[in-house]
């Protein structure tokens, strides 16, 4: 007899569990060996805490009241709870703090899409290391994690969350018009982007520049092209990406990093470097991350912070596809 479970949730049976366990162990080993201590936080937080994340995508989808009327939320991400934990428990100790997690998070799904309402994330947070170095370290840990998962072909996209905010400010697109432009960028709707930029009343050349910038992705040559297109207005963000990339090159860790100026994560708390992870065997993004100094400030800590999270089930799927590829 079948007793249904809610759509977007699943049972895991021993064969899959064994593989997942192995994958988790491999990831944890990487994190631990690099000094990242594992933490656990409650799946249920105060809604007020989770809403500090404030990005539309990060907002908890499942909220409810406890017996005394407090509003609670199922966590929709691990970065916000860890920021809360660090602000409360590590306030008196010397940064940087290196923490990692393997935890279930909960998000709303669209019906019949096969999306998971409850899924596991594996990631690290580096809090209180200098901005540039912190980003580089996090990327190195991410590369080691991908190797440990057997995803030697995976690519890390490196962009900057402030690039378009600064560029739009420079060309005088503000307020609602700016938000609407950024929304087109986040969904990568170039036709809409062009339209909205034109409506915002900036010149045709500038519209073309903005659209062309979003299509720049590749190696170091991209930075020069961006400077040629965007000039002063993009200099700060481009210089920052350049520094990170050059440091990665010095450490021999730049090969699988793709500079991507079209990158814009939909979580509202990122500022500065942003990351996304892809594997050629899978049509979906494997994970992402970046800098979130602003989020720490909201919890009362003036520390720069960076991290990444990988969707465990997707990494497992990619692993399977890559193995299949090796055999065929």
């Amino acid at each position: 007899m079948i007793h249904p479970i809610p759509p977007g949730t699943r049972d895991v049976l021993p064969d899959e569990m064994r593989e997942l366990r192995k994958l988790k162990r491999a990831l944890l080993e990487v994190f631990e060996s690099r000094g990242y201590g594992e933490v656990a936080t409650p799946a249920i937080e105060y809604d007020e805490v989770m809403s500090q994340g404030d990005g539309r995508a990060a907002r908890s989808s499942y909220r409810f009241f406890d017996e005394s009327g407090e509003q609670l939320a199922l966590r929709s991400d691990m970065t916000v709870p860890i920021a809360r934990l660090v602000a409360g428990r590590y306030a008196d100790s010397e940064p940087p703090y290196r923490l990692c997690y393997l935890a279930g998070v909960y998000r709303a799904v669209r019906p019949q899409s096969g999306q998971l309402r409850e899924f596991e994330q594996a990631g690290v947070e580096l809090i209180g290391a200098a901005a540039g170095e912190g980003t580089v370290e996090v990327i190195e840990v991410l590369e080691a994690a991908l190797d440990a998962a057997g995803l030697g072909r995976a690519v890390i996209g490196l962009g900057d969350a402030d690039l378009y905010r600064q560029l739009l400010e420079e060309v005088g697109v503000e307020g609602e018009a700016r938000d609407s432009v950024l929304a087109s960028l986040a969904t990568h709707d170039l036709v809409g982007l062009e339209q909205k930029l034109s409506e915002a009343g900036i010149g045709g050349d500038r519209v073309e520049t903005c659209v062309a910038l979003t299509q720049l992705r590749g190696g170091k040559e991209v930075l020069e092209q961006a400077r040629g297109l965007g000039g002063e207005a993009v200099e700060r963000a481009i210089a920052r990406i350049g520094e990170t990339y050059e440091e990665l090159e010095r450490r021999g860790a730049a090969d699988r990093v793709q500079i991507d100026l079209g990158l814009l994560r939909d979580l509202g708390y990122y500022s500065g470097a942003i990351l996304e992870v892809y594997d050629p065997a899978l049509g979906y993004v494997l994970g992402g991350g970046g800098r979130y100094d602003g989020l720490m400030k909201r919890f009362g800590l003036d520390l720069s912070a960076a991290g990444f999270g990988l969707y465990l089930q997707r990494v497992h799927t990619a692993q399977l596809q890559e193995q299949g590829r090796g055999e065929s």
């Binding site: 669209r110 899409s113 690519v155 996209g157 969904t187 990568h188 709707d189 170039l190 036709v191 809409g192 299509q215 992705r217 590749g218 793709q258 991507d260 996304e276 892809y278 594997d279 050629p280 899978l282 049509g283 979906y284 993004v285």
Partner: protein, 213 residues
């Protein structure tokens, strides 16, 4: 690396899509024949022919790297994550609210029942449109021949895609409001757009050139 996979829409956009692909240097002769095949290898690429409304599904999942479909499809499936790279300009038509010619049932329903009863194949576009214009609506989703609905009392009006307006006319319907104009769009899978950047950029440039001729 495997050949780039392109999802080509069968149906109303098929002919012009093949013309644009030809102009972009992709030989589509095989697709024009009466072959029952759904997959074609040509000019170093793999072309798969699917229903226009399935294009976002294939592209989102990465089963096709890129594809061509109507903006109406993209709007109706706006929760699918695909990158919209190019407006190809052809297949131009309008999403409209239409009702029976010279009949005020639409206004009547609005005034006396406080809502519109609308039949459509595009429930999400219709819902968003009426919400954004502050009207309550009862949507009836049908899968085909939506022009029939108001003639037999299934709804007071329809939201549908109109190219020439002839079908409307033949069914004694007229356009009351225009919602949005739709054309064919070139879309890409998010991961392919990153990992096969050079190939996709080249194809985008060729299609841009071809579609502006």
């Amino acid at each position: 690396m495997s050949a780039l996979k392109i999802a080509v829409p069968r149906g109303a956009l098929f002919g012009e899509t093949l013309d644009v692909l030809d102009a972009a240097g992709i030989d589509t002769a095989e697709l024009r024949g009466d072959s029952r095949s759904l997959i074609f290898e040509t000019s170093g690429m793999t072309l798969v022919t699917v229903r226009p409304s399935d294009v976002p599904t294939y592209v989102e999942a990465g089963a096709a790297d890129v594809g061509i479909t109507g903006k109406d499809v993209l709007l109706e499936q706006s929760d699918r994550v695909v990158y919209e790279l190019l407006d190809l300009g052809y297949g131009r038509c309008r999403m409209v609210l239409a009702a029976r010619t010279g009949n005020d049932r639409l206004a009547e329903g609005q005034r006396r029942l406080g809502r519109l009863r609308i039949a459509t194949k595009y429930p999400r576009i219709a819902e968003r449109y009426f919400e954004s214009t502050g009207r309550q609506v009862e949507l009836v989703e049908v899968k085909g021949s939506v022009e029939l609905a108001p003639l037999v009392g299934l709804g007071d009006g329809i939201v549908d895609l109109v190219a020439t307006g002839r079908t409307l006319e033949e069914n004694e319907l007229e356009v009351r409001e225009e919602i949005v104009e739709c054309t064919a769009r070139f879309v890409a899978n998010r991961v392919s757009h990153k990992l096969r950047a050079a190939e996709i950029d080249e194809l985008t440039a060729k299609l841009r050139e071809a579609s502006r001729r």
